[in-house]
């Protein structure tokens, strides 16, 4: 899922200090899982803003809410009255949610309340790790199920580079060498021969390098909405 972290409170206060009616809009999706933008975090941020306005002696009205997903307009539509009533919105959804909310309520000022980082996994409580770089052309079948694009600092397809040492990446002793992991896994699978053939240059068009990406799934567009699906 998408991983985000709350922005520093001072930064958010700086955005909203000249407004009176603030809506803090969280999201029940990814940012709830990584504890950056769910209802709990909306309440924490709302309380902090109220404290700031009170201490600064300013009139204020801070409202907290969340929607199921800020990346779906059906859910964003539920915010209509609350957004209209606010002077400014702080969205603590991921960067996608923040932008889609802005798109829906185009005459309202919307500020980001989180920094959005990557797609990752929950390694442990409070530890999130990147696993997929969303390059649009998955190579996991040939790399033992470990992604060299996301896990090698140089996104090499023919690693490990000469900086790989004792299983660690040259950039930091805290960073595992992605290609060391790939090698170990291929060895375990008896597939080290996969390693011997040079891998050709990658087509990065399917990655961010091809410009903003759009997926059009004609099969889904033609299909009838399914009962019990996300939009039901």
């Amino acid at each position: 899922m998408i991983k985000a972290t709350p922005k520093p409170l001072e930064e958010i206060i700086n955005y909203v200090k000249d407004f009176n009616k603030i809506l803090v809009a969280g999201c029940d999706g990814c940012v709830t899982v990584c504890e950056a933008g769910g209802m709990k975090e909306a309440k924490v941020l709302g309380s902090a803003l109220r404290l700031y306005f009170t201490q600064a002696g300013k009139d204020h009205e801070v409202v907290e809410t969340t929607v199921t997903r800020q990346c779906d307009k059906e859910y964003l539509a539920e915010l209509k009255d609350m957004v209209e009533n606010a002077d400014a919105v702080v969205s603590i959804a991921c960067g996608c949610g923040i932008q889609y909310l802005t798109e829906m309520y185009n005459d309202k000022i919307v500020f980001p309340g989180v920094d959005t980082h990557f797609m990752g996994i929950n390694a442990d409580r409070g530890i999130f790790e990147e696993r997929c770089a969303g390059c649009g052309q998955c190579v996991l079948a040939s790399t033992g199920g470990i992604c060299p694009i996301a896990r090698c600092s140089k996104r090499m397809l023919n690693g490990p580079c000469g900086g790989s040492e004792a299983g660690k990446c040259e950039i930091s002793k805290d960073t595992p060498c992605g290609w060391h992991l790939i090698y170990e896994r291929l060895e375990k699978l008896g597939q080290v021969d996969r390693f011997t053939q040079p891998v050709d240059p990658k087509n990065w068009r399917t990655s961010r390098d091809g410009g903003p990406r759009v997926i059009i799934r004609e099969d889904l567009r033609k299909a009838e909405p399914q009962h019990g699906s996300a939009h039901s």
Partner: protein, 310 residues
Amino acid sequence: MEPKTPSRLEKIMAAGQLGVTSEVGPPRGADGAEIEHKGHLIKDYVDAVNVTDNQTSVVRLCSLASCIRLKQMGIDPVLQMTTRDRNRIAMQSDILGAASFGIHNMLCLTGDHQTFGDHPMSANVFDLDSVQLIQTVKMMRDEGKLLSGFEMKVRPQIFIGAAENPFAGPNVELRALRLGKKIAAGAEFIQTQCIYNIPKFKEWMKIAVDKGYAEKAYIMAGITPFKSLGMARYMKTKVPGMDVPDNLIDRLKGVPKEKQADEGIKMAIEMMQELKEVPGVRGFHIMAIEWEEKVPELVKGAGLYPRPQV
């Protein structure tokens, strides 16, 4: 192996002689004369001179311009190119530019990560990696094509080099496999990482010989003399992928500070003497970091002077 290009280095090694290369690190400013000065120090003692490409991710005068300067002095340059800062468009363009000036050697590298350098906030490119850059140069030279498939009227003639680090992880077997991969991609000469751990290097070399890699490419042993005990310690602890055994550190510790540089040169010459006898070693790449004036002494000491004329 028959030479495929006009490279002097290739001709010398193809004739069965040990090749010798060294390197020039360009300045962190626009002083072209410094490159020429460094070139003069070593030109009669080596067959070709590598020019580093923003080594350790520190901005320096560019490798291509430096190579052109050396070429104009009558030196055969080795254009080092990393994939860190340029995409396949820029790299192919630079290769054509180099070839247009008669630069006939390249060393294809991925490059150190930019976090090591003076611009750690910069974006990196890594559109290709070193193996893919080797493939690209080979395709341009042997098929006369760019990666796009476009056919060129005039092909670059480039002796294709790569680096390999026998001492990096996960183990010596994988490092030998990766050497084989680079050779399969088209590398014709290999300049290794600085060698200090000779037993480990021999282990790697044996795999390279047994697998037939050493017959398919000229493997040049990388040599970097220690200037001081401090440098040896720095190499051991701070430089990624470097393997400096304790006995070398102890040997430097055993001599007074003012004699350590001399001892470092002596140690490097002894290593070269020993490595000359290792099957598969076809030459030396001397990386005397900011110590180019010592290259003649090393080459003479190892019995590699005068250089053959071709």
